[in-house]
Symmetry: D2
Subunit: 489 residues, 4 copies
């Protein structure tokens, strides 16, 4: 990239798991591209490093992709008006292995015998390497390192004739998690994988149907929420209306439970539950499970706030802003040689010393990944004079990597995969450390109990119970070398 | 500016008063510039459009100024290492009339017969135009449209010999509000005007004294807070230590009470009071004054949060995040022609519909300026299904412009200057509208009552009682045309 | 492209035919990428809008492509050191239909069953559309709108096993003009099409063989010229040395005669002739054919200079700089409403009035395409006071489009396709207009006469005699719509 | 500067003296700014690093300044239309000591008791340091490190009342060389210093008078040349017409003779002589003085071309392009570790080997400063096979620094100040080295002989005879430290 704009970090980006993508689609709207840009803006928390929109009208497709935020790249009359046509899909992306090259930004577009097709994908396939090798052997030329391109090639070589039949043919060959939006000359298509691991919702504004990763993308454009796209469902929206098929063998739904804990926006409603309410409920469960005596409940801003409110309500201990966030994120300051204690965390947070000095503090955070930030925050709070520091986490210990579209470290870097909870508490430097139990978590999302045989959610990052086979990983193909080419542009 | 970086808006920038500047100084530290950059980062909420640092060592001054955030411009080894020398001052600025030209960025530096001098200023002078005319007549050449340059010229033509004497000579001729940091070849100087309208604190890290607008700038570098610089005090820090003089006739202290309400960061301690605690106390007073029955207290994020916590605690009504903020600010989206209801506010906020539908809601916000955003938020909350919307404001009605370094609209644009509270409630579209009383506000900051003869704070924006004469305004000199030149660079 | 650097126009860019590409390759050199960057800099006149380099070492390919000049994008240690490996190819490109998207910049790289392969192409294929349709029907996914990608797909689906066999298989299916450099894991390959329309030379520095479009790219790195690659020859350079094959049916060589007239650099030697010497010889022939009486011979700078020197020498009329070029090209000035006579041409040229006032002037230029610039220059010279203006052109009338990698207007825009020479003279506004005859041109390049049956050069732009079939054009496939997608990036 | 555009080097920039500025002014034209931009474009060779324009209309001044070329910064409707008003001045600048800060770009603007005044300056003052110290002592605040700012302050403190009287008052105190354009609310003023060292011409288009450094800036906008502004003359252009005064004591005219040799554009007419004709005449004189036998005369492109044409004509030896220039300048390529012979010079020039191999070559260049480039060119020509290399220089040996606005090295870096001509020939590696004699030079510019008592031109760089006192230099004030501040912006 020439003159790449400085990336602005995710406001909660330290030591967190990251959702990798958000998707959006709209059919039959005279301002399809402007609405797509707004929908993607509402989904920006699902991917901050790049965004793309493809539209179609009168048989001509239009595309614009850019590194950086939606609001920095899709805010000009110029861009929006070139993205003409009544049908559009869009994508936001958090970059992972393979680097942030423009050619890796979605939606992917390709031309086929039947015409053009663009696809935006949230999730991750688990047999990418295996399929890629086969396809290259057949003479397919890959233009990116994205797993999504596999689907494009499978569609291209399918022997079926209709787009939908070719797409089904392709999807039957892939494994893993995928919510997709697709755009053809005359339709917008939404797909959710058989387990429904990643979210996808259906909405409507005026006569136009909309597909989006979360309901907050419907709210921003004043659209009504209709329903979740169902696991294994393909919804085709075209001039004749909406048409649903379920071409895959039925399996149990396994929606990602971490969407409730951290990934989704609190104002979204996913699978009939408001995310904010679930987070408060987790806080309440956590309070009941932990039973700590303290002077105040302090959230680690901003993601710990809803659970902390729930915790405070349930326990009767006052909720206080004992840590203040600097809204101006500056992750690249030069650290002075004369070391400043907790330097990195202080660029974003400051303990509210006047408030917590001499007090017993319950910190509420959503998860512990590597543990590095937790250590610094605990130390900062203690340095500000807290007499006791208790850390309560609104998820069970994260002990397994995710292969379904979440950026997780290798297992050996997950603190909970390497230590007992007591060891973690000691390492982090807190007086006590409490995770919500897996059962408590299931209660908070409204289940009586976790169905051990056939869990109601994907909770593999806590339990190691992956809903699909992991072909690449098991075949030793899970290599980070996706290409013979290293490129800068 | 060639290739000016896109400005990122203040996260709370709609329809708010704006603090215009933050200042920082450090003496005798081997990493003076790196620490100044960090201090300015902690003060970024006081000015987002430009930042500057001047250092000095071995008689050579070094300067770097840039439009944009501190974290985007003072984050390279290159910049920091060119800013060598053990003494430094810095400045962040919110741009106002005159445009955002680089030559209007502070600190201002000039050479004098006695050597170099750099000045950074928080506040605003009220006899700028009058003095400027006189100085131009005398043959002074102005290089900017900043009021601060007046001080530079007065120092240059002073007949006194020492820098401090010249500075005192200059300051005796200016009127208005000013907290200053100044840098000479061998000293760092801090000044607060006789009324102490704007804040300035003294701290220390190792053997190095520090001056900063707020204590949060001490915390980020691990410095200890010593005390507030007193109104009318000049503190000179040099190799011999610290030296304080009070060269002005004593007048009553009139610290800006709005610093507690909104401008300062919640974790700062100013004039011995923690800002967060004051805000909570205002919320408590407001709850006692308003006595509304409702189902939940909802802050307008993020500035309404502390008062809402206080309100909820005092009233026993649950505190809920009924409005969710989008952390990715995008103020320049193209508004679709098919109008989206409350478009502008939705780019930043979304009502948490699942939470507030069918509920009686108390919204807590810090102030109403033009009222435009309040209308949209009230409408958005009602559209999400709230049955009653009550708006409680943690400041008295803002009915007068500020001339002391706060960006306020003309009086005719202040909603409270044009309407009664009932009219405002109707215009905004809420079931009730409640401002904290001026007496309640004084109680919240720890005073028994407001001393009507001689108020303990500057509250002119609420009461019209300005602590100084307003020479330019009264002389009709308060023209926005500061220069014969309009310039782009 | 984000923040695309402003394109600097070709210094001779008005109303000229444009060479579209330059290519370079080097094998077995420890500074392969630095030398490739220098070679491309020497070939910059063959393509100014984009440049790319691909290197390979230890099985890993490295690529960098950028819009703009070589000297602006391949001048950092960073870029050069990331382009590691002892073998490299590079490409400069003048953009044509399809826009200047980064993904259209060469060399193209792709992965195959046998490993990686990168290709850089100078020339143009004439059955692109026909082959592309067939390949898409087969399931091939195209990533660009470049004709060169056809070759990549043909290689991918070839049933042969070795790279060279697959390449031959592919090239046997394409029609048109191509000089290629290709890079595999262990070789650099050079190819010239059976007619040898575009140039390609072989050189050597130390033990490293080099391929380049022109000898000037050898000179810059101090390499020795060995010989031209022959028409229809494939040269494979690998660790065992150099290996030549001629897999195509032999046809007559038809080297592009316009390379001598304008495209190539004057210091290059192509097909055993020094370009500067040929241009002088054309000027001499032109003088003999035209026999004009005048006071001075004035070149249209800079491309008319060598022919003007030849003309002056042969005629004995003094050579004078009667038109001065502004070295600072500024093609995008705002034209004032109060029209300035010959505005566009004056940004680049000025008549040297003191020299030409009252004089009879022979202007020497290399070609007339649309005639627009010629009109302005003639008018400018006359306005400066020349009493007679005679225009002598060192090429025959350009009356046919080129389909072999030269950017020419449609035939209806070629002045010589629409008018007689007399009409042209009148339209341009000169006292006489003289083109060199086709026979005179052949004499100047050293031939006795043009072999009418089987011409020794490609002179189709003058005669309409195209050396290959033009499948796309004849099949009506010569559409400018290469893709269903319009894209900005 | 944020994101400073890459500077494009002067096409002839190696080892040359550099003119530092070009100026332009226009009065009473409805497209004053667009015409000023064009005039500055024609003067770009006099300064490439920055440009500025100030306009005035209805009492409001408008300014735009930028680093880089005119054509890159004054080419948008936006910029031109903001520069409104019928009167304008402009400036191009080659940066020297003090760095290329935007605040050092001219024209300088300031406000005075009488209104606004902008000044653009070509030349250099020789008592800057002395005056600056005095003015600072008086309380003047300097905003730049430019000598021109001295004039601004002297005008500001002058006790006279009219602008012109104040300007005369100021100029009587400065020493050195200056051609000025100045802009007031109702006039454009042109000034040439008493010796007339730097050029300034008067022209007219329609009813609008124009001032410009050279006549080529009149030609580009179709203006007529009227006359040179005379040494010591002040021309005031206002609504009443044109008014000339000569307020200084008369001294001999001493126009810079190097303007003819190299600085000015060949198509300009200065002091009644066409620059191209003078250069040819120098070449003719040089031929008569040197009398070398050779096969060809080869110019060092491009500045050596006119003298080489004159040399060839006078000697009868053929003129040939034996060195070819690469039009794409790339001064920042990474030099490979495996050293390439004459690397730097090869980025710009290539010997036309096929032409010069086995030949006796006379190289013609305009001057030798440090001699570094001459060495490389001579070596390159010899390496290409020339049997003899004779170097003829169209100026006398440059043995003294210039203090009048030309960027020259310190005297110890001038080759001719350190060596005899024979030593220089040996060092450069040529068979013979010939400079034109000072007498030959005077003959070429039309003088019978140099008046030794009172030379007709400033030829100080050859003879050391400076026309003015050099107060700063003699007072030891010629320090490169112009400011206590080092700044980046």
């Amino acid at each position: 990239m020439l003159n790449m704009p400085p990336f602005k970090s995710h406001p909660f980006d330290d030591d967190k798991l990251h959702e990798e993508c958000g998707i959006f689609g709209i059919f039959g709207h005279e301002e399809a591209s402007a609405h797509t840009a707004l929908g993607l803006h509402a989904l920006q928390h699902r991917g901050q490093e790049a965004a793309g929109v493809v539209t179609v009208g009168d048989g001509q497709f239009h595309s614009h992709k850019a590194l950086g935020h939606v609001g920095d790249n899709f805010n000009s009359e110029n861009v929006i008006s070139e993205l003409s046509g009544p049908n559009a899909i869009g994508h936001v992306r958090y970059s992972t292995t393979g680097g942030t090259l423009l050619r890796n930004v979605q939606p992917i577009f390709a031309e086929f015998d039947f015409g053009g097709l663009a696809i935006g994908h949230n999730g991750n396939l688990t047999n990418t390497q295996t399929l890629r090798k086969t396809l290259i052997k057949r003479g397919c030329i890959f233009q990116s390192t994205m797993d999504t391109e596999i689907i494009i090639h499978l569609v291209a070589i399918s022997l079926y004739s209709s787009v939908v039949d070719r797409l089904v043919d392709a999807l039957r060959q892939v494994e893993g998690a995928y919510s997709l939006v697709a755009l053809t000359e005359d339709s917008v298509i939404g797909v959710r994988d058989p387990h429904g691991v990643r979210p996808l919702v259906l909405g409507k504004v005026g006569d136009s149907y909309i597909l989006a990763s979360e309901t907050c993308a419907l709210d921003i454009i004043g659209a009504d929420f209709i329903r979740d796209v169902e696991p294994g469902e393909i919804i085709v929206i075209n001039a004749e209306g909406i048409h649903s098929i379920k071409p895959f063998a039925p399996v149990t739904s396994r929606f990602c439970i971490f969407e409730y804990i951290y990934f989704a926006r609190p104002d979204s409603v996913l699978e009939n539950k408001n995310v904010y309410n679930v987070r408060k409920a987790i806080g309440e469960e956590l309070s009941r499970e932990s039973r700590i005596e303290a002077d105040m409940v302090v959230p680690v801003p901003d993601s710990g706030v809803p659970a902390a409110i729930g915790y405070a309500e349930a326990s009767g201990i006052p909720f206080e802003l004992g840590i203040i966030r600097n809204h101006y994120v500056g992750r690249t300051f030069i650290e002075p040689g004369q070391e400043i204690r907790n330097f990195g965390v202080k660029l974003k947070h400051n303990a509210n010393k006047a408030k917590i000095e001499g007090k017993r503090v319950i910190l509420v955070d959503d998860s512990i990944v590597r543990g590095t930030t937790s250590m610094k925050i605990a130390d900062m709070v203690r340095a500000a004079g807290a007499t006791e520091v208790h850390l309560c986490i609104s998820s069970p210990p994260t002990a397994y990597s995710c292969y379904y579209g979440i950026d997780t470290p290798e297992r050996e870097d997950l603190m909970a995969a390497q230590m007992s909870i007591d060891e973690m508490a000691k390492q982090i430097g807190v007086d006590s450390l409490q995770f919500i139990s897996i059962e408590g978590l299931y209660r908070a999302v409204g289940e009586k109990t976790r169905n051990e045989e056939c869990p109601q959610f994907c909770d593999a990052c806590f339990t190691g119970g992956y809903p699909t086979v992991l072909t690449d990983k098991e075949g030793g193909n899970n290599t980070s070398q996706l290409s013979l080419l290293s490129e800068r542009d």
